[in-house]
Symmetry: C2
Subunit: 362 residues, 2 copies
Amino acid sequence: MTATRHVDLPSPYVLRRGGQLFGARLAYETWGELSAARDNAVLILTGLSPGAHAASCAQDPTPGWWEAMVGPGRAIDTRRHFVICVNSLGSCKGSTGAASIDPATGQPYRLSFPELTLEDVAASSKHVLDALGITHLRALIGPSMGGMTTLAFAVLFPGFAANLVLISTAPHSLPFATAIRSVQREAIRRDPAWKNGDYSADAWPENGFRIARKLGMVTYRSPQEWRSRFGRKRVNTPDPRPFEREFEVEAYLDAHADRFVGSFDPNSYLYLSRAMDWFDLADHGGAVDIALAKTQAKRALVIGVTTDILFPIEQQREIAEGLRHAGAIVEYHALPSIQGHDSFLVDFERFAPPVGDFLNSL
Amino acid sequence: MTATRHVDLPSPYVLRRGGQLFGARLAYETWGELSAARDNAVLILTGLSPGAHAASCAQDPTPGWWEAMVGPGRAIDTRRHFVICVNSLGSCKGSTGAASIDPATGQPYRLSFPELTLEDVAASSKHVLDALGITHLRALIGPSMGGMTTLAFAVLFPGFAANLVLISTAPHSLPFATAIRSVQREAIRRDPAWKNGDYSADAWPENGFRIARKLGMVTYRSPQEWRSRFGRKRVNTPDPRPFEREFEVEAYLDAHADRFVGSFDPNSYLYLSRAMDWFDLADHGGAVDIALAKTQAKRALVIGVTTDILFPIEQQREIAEGLRHAGAIVEYHALPSIQGHDSFLVDFERFAPPVGDFLNSL
């Protein structure tokens, strides 16, 4: 049983780079109750891979991707706030993306899906709020790619969200992150099973996608965590085939790849991955600081992690300082979590208090 | 015209893990003159990919892989020292490796090449010295994987080299480095053209090898270097195919992959890459410090780079402290080079002085 609902986007829905979608829709979930004054809405925009199911609920008791953070009495308290989470446009968890059927052909879009930007992901999410009758947000929350989308939303709809929560994110990708993502995309594209995007449902480019996912995990966690967690420990039963796994860190990567491959559409991954590399907040006015000033944000919570190699802490500091220069009241945390970029998905002891305190103070 | 010479290994040549090679040989080059007292020999053991051609010479004026460091008047001064560089056993630059012909079958070894360790690379290199009539080394120099091989050599032949130069290396791989190398090997193995190692000479697993090389480059340099060098600069003429390169950092990776693929045998890469992950100096006595004490090193120069993510600076410090505890006189440099692990191949301004001073003081 699913708690997912859908909102139809205007048809055609025109994207920033000129493409159009007909009959597109977005999947979303909500928790809690919208107040009579409609003033307690909190929107969560997600990282690359999660869907709208951020937390469990009566209709769908499956744990959500941010289960420990969202719920009654939790940091994102569903007794206080009306919480909404949207599956990004271009993803494959209920929203229209490259794996969706193009009504013009009756076939999946695949690479005929139009060029997608994070501004499109942000602007389309606003239609969910419109459909729910929400005219302003108590807070807009975005971790990782969702933080980039949050920045895009804030600059596209100034003042709509007076309070921003930006977690382990960046105003644009640095070349190290772009290099990693470029190699991930190339691993998918060079898999013969990719077939220029025209893979069949029963023959996905799994080899390339495995490499992409493993490379992702290498950058989502931190060398420090793995050093203390795995060291040089061997697996109990190594795979006897030559050059197969022997070390625990390899088994860990295998387990992550096994879970991910088959659960996310590779073309959708390509579109969202590229959208992250394309995104540059400075496109909105010529410089990051100018764009941040445009958001009219009143307050912001900016959190980063010192062991993050994908969205290094300097990028969070840049956002925090830019918002401060623009006159916002900014709370900035450089957390010493050991789990790197993914810390917001695991180190709840460190992440829950500042997020909860910030939201409850609004 | 080549300056490469060869030494035949004993036949059969028994490897540490039990395999045997018949008619195996090693390629090497030398520069300078061995003194009458045979006391000025300096051996260079290489990283994963270079061959024995460390520097140009009269017979082969092609620049070597460490041209700026090796030569008359250079840091590794060929007027003072008799310099030898050996192509690693298992490599494909003239020494016997997986791409060599197995005399038993008349076919390339491919995966029938026996399991290879860095101890084998070290021990086999000693036969080059034996053939040259060298009974002790003035210095043993190893950067990167070559530093691991140097440690293996030093513990297998205590006192043979009283003076060690260890550059950007480690007593063993940390799980981050193993994860990277594991993904590199998997990218090769999952390329359908790999064919369990039985690829033909005109159909190498180039797609997987490209990914492996690019992933290598991501870890050989540093995010800081790329940030200042590339930023978010675009290429002038982007490839119009979907998801192809747009950013300069992507073109840089392409250029590196283009140069490497076709010039190094993928199976040989697998063998040497795995040997690095297998290597653990602590295997020689139970702990790194015990093994370092076994080397009987008198003096050591240990150099690392603070931006190295593959062989982090802590690992050089560990080696330096261990050698000091064992009674060696150790000079330790944590260089602030911005080029990461590869700094020893490019930042000669920082690397040449300490190496030159150390060698000239012997």
